[in-house]
């Protein structure tokens, strides 16, 4: 059974039009994914609908075969689905350590949290140096590391990361991607959304291309990157629209 199944999901914001128009994707445990597509294709909306931030208007979201539609974000998180939104979403007036501790909000075992925090500091040594500093004073890359480290505090089964490289210098973005690649070894299934499609696909196993709110194409990431025809059809379009 697939870990996460999204079936014919229709979703949109407020009274607005449907952004997702009957989208189906399947996420298998242990595979890493990158969702690519032009602006407005519904990449972020898909993540929000899975994470419980947006109630699907139709269709089903299933985790281990159990229907999860209409669950609140905290319930999805408790079920192991962690969402990292694109605007390094942290607590600016709390220290790095307090921010990480908030990541374990749903966990009550203090010893376990301490252990996980040490693990996060091992993964992101810079955060150990900055632990007493207010998160709002960190650089963009460091803030992104706080949000990723905070996600590790809950030991999620799936972490869905929206545009991890947004606003970061290429070198810093590469460091972030390297950390994300390491999540697989921790038993965490990674789902990325990336505007920079080539960069995103280079760092995952499987690519899913969205357009106009539904799935256009999916396949092994290296296959997508290697096939000049697909590259032109999907990534060329993605890239050119992404540039505007």
């Amino acid at each position: 059974m697939a870990l996460l199944e999204v079936e014919d999901v229709v979703a949109g914001y407020g009274a607005g039009p449907d952004i997702l128009t009957g989208l189906s994707v399947t996420i298998e445990e242990g595979t890493s994914y990158c969702i690519v597509g032009p602006n407005g294709a519904g990449k972020s909306t898909l993540l929000r609908a899975i994470a419980g931030f947006l109630k699907p208007r139709a269709g089903e979201v299933r985790l281990d075969g159990v229907l999860m539609n209409g669950s609140r974000p905290d319930q999805m998180l408790a079920a192991g689905i962690c969402f990292v939104p694109q605007d390094a979403s942290l607590f600016p007036m709390m220290t790095v350590r307090e921010n990480l501790a908030m990541g374990g909000y749903l966990v009550n075992d203090r010893a376990l949290l301490r252990q996980r925090m040490d693990m996060v500091y091992e993964t992101f040594p810079i955060l150990a140096e900055r632990r007493g500093q207010n998160a709002g004073t960190l650089s963009g890359g460091e803030q992104q590391m706080v949000t990723l480290g905070r996600a590790l505090m809950i030991e999620p089964r799936v972490v869905m990361i929206d545009e991890p490289s947004l606003g970061l210098a290429p070198m810093i973005a590469d460091q972030i991607f390297e950390k994300i690649r390491g999540f697989g070894a921790l038993g965490i299934t990674v789902v990325l959304v990336e505007q920079n499609a080539v960069k995103g696909l280079e760092n995952v196993d499987w690519g899913i291309v969205l357009d106009l709110g539904s799935k256009d194409f999916e396949g092994p990431a290296d296959g997508i990157l290697a096939d000049p025809r697909i590259r032109e059809l999907y990534l060329g379009k993605t890239m050119s629209k992404g540039m505007t």
């Binding site: 979403s89 607590f91 600016p92």
Partner: protein
Amino acid sequence: MAHWLQILVLGLLLGGVYAMMASGLTLLFGVMRVVNLAHAAFILIASYMTYALFEGLTLDPMISLFVTMPLMFGLGVGLYLLLFPRLEESPRYVEMTVLLTFGLALIVEGLLTFTFTGTFRSVRPEYASTSIMIGDLFVPTSQLYASLISFALLILLWVFLRFTKTGTAIRATMQNRAAAQIVGVNVRRISALSFGLGMSLAGAAGSLLSFMFPFFPARHWQWIALLLALIVLGGMGSIKGAVIGALLLAVASAFVTDLVGPTWSPITFYLTLFLILMVRPQGLFGAKVRL
């Protein structure tokens, strides 16, 4: 010299009560981005409850805190759950909540006038008209008691927010609501709780004000204007700012009263507010929040 000290002490005593009133209001703004225009009207509800308890049961106003605080907490949670969740999805959330709380203030005022008429009321326990001398300092007993209770409640609030898990979740929600949701905070539960907390502080304030100043149902407009000035000065959503702003303005207005006369005291608030906002538009401790 002793005279200035006297003015300072009187200002600080009054400021303590203002600080508690303002911290409830700023807490609500911080967590929910709601400017609760009915906050002072809710304070008045508690004043009238205290009045009724005193007249009916001769219950000491300071004891009636144990009645008004939990009742107002319950009222706050109830009102929140009844009225606010349905507005949260709305793109006009801020405008709607301003109208909603303005309407609530009018309703409360109407109900109070209907029940208690528009006449001035005051609660007169024995200590309302006594004073004590500390050295050369003259201290009205009522203000001393009210201020001590206010500071005690503020310290409790601080300990709660700083050291408990739920308190930390409230602070996190104040700093970044979306991020709080990301880490699994049930922000609706936290909002309801904060509304209750803010209202119970209003309850305490109402009980204390009942024996400090005479009141009538329309009195809340005057209070809310003052409270809004305090929380804007401190920085919207900053409890530390609200407390310091309240003490600062209360002391300033005490000095103005002494130097130029009581007619000029209310305007001190708004003048200080204008002057400080010219230099720091986000208030003393405010982050630059977007509504």
